[in-house]
């Protein structure tokens, strides 16, 4: 409940402050957001599986974000940034879908 409120607070703050994303962060932020979403859905699934662990969540959230940004950075340095970020988005998208499917099965049995 509190994390959900935190999410809403973050959204509201973002809307109100209307921040400018620093130029150096611009290629990485979208990927980082997708990676964080993956961690969040993974956490919800873990809750439903009964294996949720706070520490694991925090670590996986941060490492997801950092690794995703790192991959994109590496890709940019190697000249395949756009392809690699597409790849990362695809992989994370697949994971999000499978997590959502697991959540759905837990909650609705469908």
């Amino acid at each position: 409940m509190i994390p959900a409120i935190g999410l809403v607070v973050g959204l509201v703050v973002g809307i109100v402050l209307h921040p400018d994303v620093p130029l150096s962060l611009q290629p990485y932020l979208p990927i980082a957001v997708i990676a964080a979403l993956d961690a969040v859905f993974g956490a919800v699934r873990a809750v439903l599986d009964g294996i949720f662990d706070d520490k694991v969540f925090v670590v996986s959230f941060l490492s997801n974000v950092v690794v995703a940004a790192l991959i994109v950075y590496l890709g940019d340095q190697l000249g395949v940034g756009s392809q690699l970020s597409t790849g990362v988005v695809v992989v994370l998208g697949v994971r999000i879908f499978s997590n959502v499917a697991a959540i759905r099965r837990h909650l609705f049995h469908a």
Binding site: L48, V58, L62
Partner: protein
């Protein structure tokens, strides 16, 4: 989020046991919201209840350090999402990659180069039209156009490099379709003016037979040997004639005697009266 305090349960734990765990005050977390009653679930499907009750238990507000971290992370995620969404909405080119931008710039440059060339040309034409008193230049342009169209329509004689195809036909085997094939092949190869014996071949020319096996082109009887004169690139046209299975080879197989000669200068002298189209009208667009 209480599963770290309770031992991990199997995929389908006994719902009763679940409730017991729920009702117990959490010894490790020591939070203030334990008084909140667990939601009474309607006695539905056990499995459904398990999923929702887990979710509900996890959703209960607790003030632990981990929960605080998670909340901060969630707030960051929300903030980042909104920032990214607004960034994407507001900026057109800013978040494109360098190589995309370079490609874009290149395309725009090329387009602008093309457009400025066209603008130059139009400006020149305009100044010509203005300086030469208008009429003269306009007349010149119109005359030029008339000549081009005259050659295409067959109302003007033409001369230039080309080929001459002579088809001897001792056995009377050449059919109108063979001549048509030859003419089509020449058109494909870029012939600009074509003459068959004394008949100018243009866009609406036709071939047939006139009484017996005599060939007819545009209503005029044509006799062997058939001489096709075409103006265009001699090399391209003679190559087109000589391709395996092409015009020359098939004529030879039938028993005719075709010969192709390239020349630096051939004359297409036959003329054809311009005909007014009966149905097609020039449209103003």
């Amino acid at each position: 989020m209480s599963s770290d305090e309770t031992p991990p349960v199997g995929p389908e734990p006994d719902p009763k046991a679940d409730d017991e765990v729920d009702a117990k005050p959490d010894p490790t977390t020591g939070h203030e919201f334990d008084a909140e009653p667990t939601t009474p679930h309607a006695p539905e499907d056990d499995q459904v209840r398990t999923g929702w009750s887990r979710l509900w238990r996890a959703a209960r507000p607790r003030l632990t350090r981990a929960n605080g971290y998670i909340t901060v992370l969630a707030a960051l995620l929300g903030f980042a999402m909104v920032a990214q969404v607004q960034e994407t909405r507001s900026s057109g080119l800013e978040n494109l990659r360098q190589e995309d931008l370079v490609a874009l710039l290149d395309g725009v440059n090329q387009q602008s180069l093309k457009l400025s060339k066209e603008a130059d040309r139009l400006t020149r034409t305009k100044s010509q039209l203005e300086t030469s008193g208008g009429d003269e230049a306009a007349l010149k342009a119109a005359t030029e156009r008339l000549r081009t169209l005259g050659i295409l329509a067959g109302t003007l004689p033409a001369t230039g490099p080309g080929i001459r195809i002579t088809i001897g036909d001792p056995k009377h085997v050449v059919k109108p379709s063979d001549v048509l094939n030859a003419v089509e092949e020449l058109r494909d190869a870029g012939a600009e003016a074509i003459q068959l014996n004394s008949v100018r071949i243009v866009a609406d020319s036709y071939f047939g037979t006139a009484g017996g096996d005599r060939l007819m082109a545009d209503g005029t009887s044509v006799g062997a040997p058939y001489v096709i004169t075409a103006i265009g690139d001699p090399h391209t046209m003679s190559t087109a004639m000589a391709i395996p299975g092409g015009v020359v080879e098939s004529l030879k197989q039938m028993g005719a005697k075709p010969s192709v000669k390239s020349a630096a200068r051939v004359d297409v002298t036959a003329l054809r009266a311009a005909s007014t189209p009966r149905y097609a009208q020039p449209s103003s667009s």
